[in-house]
């Protein structure tokens, strides 16, 4: 099968390309969705970018990323809220139906305090998201990012977090890289789907050995994550949206990006 009708790429995956180059290359390769990272929008009018993406035949899946709510001072936390509101406005102008939220954490305070600040942050920005018709997707991050990136580190925690709210505009982004180790993952994915909260699905792989905590993600199939099995759980939960390839990799960023894109498409067809 050569079905790429649900294949989406994150612009960060081909970081060295300009947004325009990425749009053209993705469309040419049969990629059908794009998740735009905010840094790729710099110096551009998001409304025009949105139009250009749609003209190329691509669907905008999400804007990456908001969040990072915890901070050690009130002033900083307020700045984070303003930044998130700008992200919502950008998403709205771009035509992105979803913003991926990396929850955040601050090493000077307990994870419990950071979680409370994440809750306060969501509470503050959710009305604008609802008014703008932009959904917010909490992305639980691997526990190795609990120091500075996320105090929400499993699907169970993300589901519990969403239970505090009751909004169709707040849900969860499932990323196999962050969650593959979780013992109750299948149940928690089912729980998420049953609540209508499973908003997005990201794939990459866990390399052996992983040589960098941030930028050594693998191409699907070169690691130990049971991607296809997890995809099955996600689909059984009712999700039928895009499958998004999000790879941070010093090694892949350094190679020819056209060849990398071809490898991604092949790996998607073979291992996802």
């Amino acid at each position: 099968m050569q079905d790429t009708s649900r294949l989406c790429l994150h612009t960060i995956t081909t970081k060295s390309w300009s947004l325009e180059r990425a749009i053209d290359a993705y469309a040419e390769k049969g990629v059908t969705g794009i998740t735009v990272w905010r840094q790729a929008l710099e110096g551009r009018d998001p409304a025009k970018v949105g139009q250009r993406i749609r003209n190329a035949g691509l669907e905008i899946v999400s804007l990456c990323r908001g969040g990072f709510f915890p901070a050690s001072s009130v002033v900083e936390r307020k700045e984070r809220l303003d930044e998130n509101r700008r992200a919502i406005e950008q998403a709205s102008a771009l035509g992105a139906p979803l913003i991926v939220l990396v929850p955040g954490a601050h090493p000077s305070q307990s994870l419990g305090t950071s979680r409370e600040q994440i809750r306060e942050g969501i509470e503050a920005i959710l009305p604008l998201a609802e008014a703008s018709n932009v959904r917010l997707g909490i992305e639980p991050l691997h526990p190795m990012y609990a120091d500075t990136r996320s105090a929400i580190n499993s699907m169970a925690m993300a589901n519990n977090f969403c239970d505090q709210f009751d909004s169709p505009y707040l849900g969860v982004v499932v990323d196999v890289y962050h969650l593959w180790w979780e013992p109750a993952l299948e149940n928690e994915i089912r729980r998420c789907g049953a609540s209508g909260n499973l908003f997005a699905f990201h794939v990459s792989d866990w390399r052996l050995p992983t040589e960098d905590l941030l930028n050594d993600r693998g191409l699907m199939g070169e690691g130990c994550i049971p991607i296809r099995k997890i995809r099955g759980w996600v689909e059984q939960s009712g999700f039928n949206g895009f499958i998004e390839v999000e790879i941070f990799s010093n090694r892949y960023w350094a190679i020819d990006q056209d060849a990398f894109l071809e490898s991604i498409v092949q790996a998607y067809l073979k291992y996802v």
Copy 2:
């Protein structure tokens, strides 16, 4: 306070020292416990080493490490069992009351399969451990080691695992480095203590940024782990044994080990 009466060091922490050098240096610094890594025993008679340690006034806290039960073939799994039996015999000769078990994982199979093989492994070696009066301590490892080192990645999982057995010879090793991120850690430590299963307590710290998944642990106080808070939970659960410093660190292994040992004692007094 200068109370080091519960301070134990793992020989791996001062890896470049011979076991004899480590014993003398620890004793001289007022360290009172020692956890012996098996590689430090190479070419030595464990009974004589045990005597030497006791003569120096140190208490043997545990032998590190057994475990690594999962493997993709029956033959390999049998070899792992034999290796664990040798470790039990070594611990017995040394006079170590406890073996730390790193459970293991194999990337070619599901974590569920690896967990089942860990269960089978424990079942196979537990009778010898009981007969030898050597306790086995399961060490849950951080989820970033779920690829090749441990399919048991949280205190909750370790507690659930022990519930499958009902032996005073099987318990849990609590290491702040692996578990600090866990949302229900306090409750799970209490649960472990209430079952009489909390066998050992390891400390180090999580550096920011962590530059290597294996060998970039921090000295207590230089990272973001709430060590003293977790120590409190451990003691409230009834544990009053040694506090073991286990630091894998390319950066600390490269410096003068006497100076490093002094820093460890100071960090222990100040941050643990």
